[in-house]
Symmetry: C2
Subunit: 112 residues, 2 copies
DNA sequence: ATAACAAATGAAATCAATTTCATATGAAAG
DNA sequence: CTTTCATATGAAATTGATTTCATTTGTTAT
């Protein structure tokens, strides 16, 4: 009988790596509102195009984003089903626990 | 009127960094079953004590774990409220999407 | 107060992911 | 078929987090 609670730790790591980076999180935040093409994303988060492209590639490989070609533009869409619930949980966690000794900072917090 | 959908990206990053590392994910997996002290964790995941301690510190700072002193032992407990639902979502995601071009590998997958 | 065990810590070394920059590819329009 | 706009890619450089190792702190028992 196989143990279902056992995790493939390295696989999960590969997923979470995408959320552990400011550029990628900024992209996710931008796409939360609506699908955007590469140029629009780069402008929205104020980062270089190639930097954004590299990030988009990994996010897409892990199915956190989806791409669709539209003319010469490539439009990226957030995988809402997976990403939104996770962000909600973390949002709640950060708000609940952000405090003196915690590296987590929520929007309301004014910390050094 | 403030925009509630705006995320503090760097803060989220600080949270997710803890999940983007094999050692820390192994610790989380071990603590999923029951609380353990440092020595027990190190044995369970077969890693050095100081390596485990460094990881435990960060996990605890981010409130992913909680500590309690018990005699000379320190017992670490997983923050189930936050962590379990996240892992469930990722588990589902990985099972759903693991495939040829995806770096994510679920338990059932035999990939190079 | 000392020994024995458990865990934490600091700093240097290592490692892996991100960024950068120059270049290549691809799509549409003229 | 050449130009232009949009994006992707490869490889070197950089960055930042993790690991390692020696040492320290803390707890309990003698």
């Amino acid at each position: 009988m196989k143990d279902n609670s056992c995790m493939a730790a390295s696989s999960y790591k590969d997923f979470f790596v995408n959320f552990a980076n400011k550029t990628k999180m900024d992209i996710i935040a931008a796409l939360r509102k609506k699908p955007l093409c590469v140029g629009e994303i780069a402008e929205a988060i104020n980062e270089e195009q190639s930097k954004v492209s590299h990030s988009l590639k990994k996010l897409t490989q892990c199915k956190i984003l989806e791409v669709k070609q539209e003319g010469k533009k490539r439009v990226y869409t957030l995988n809402h089903d997976t990403v939104l619930p996770i962000l909600q949980i973390v949002e709640k966690h950060v708000h609940q626990y952000c405090a003196k000794n915690c590296p987590l900072k929520c929007l309301g917090c004014k910390k050094k």
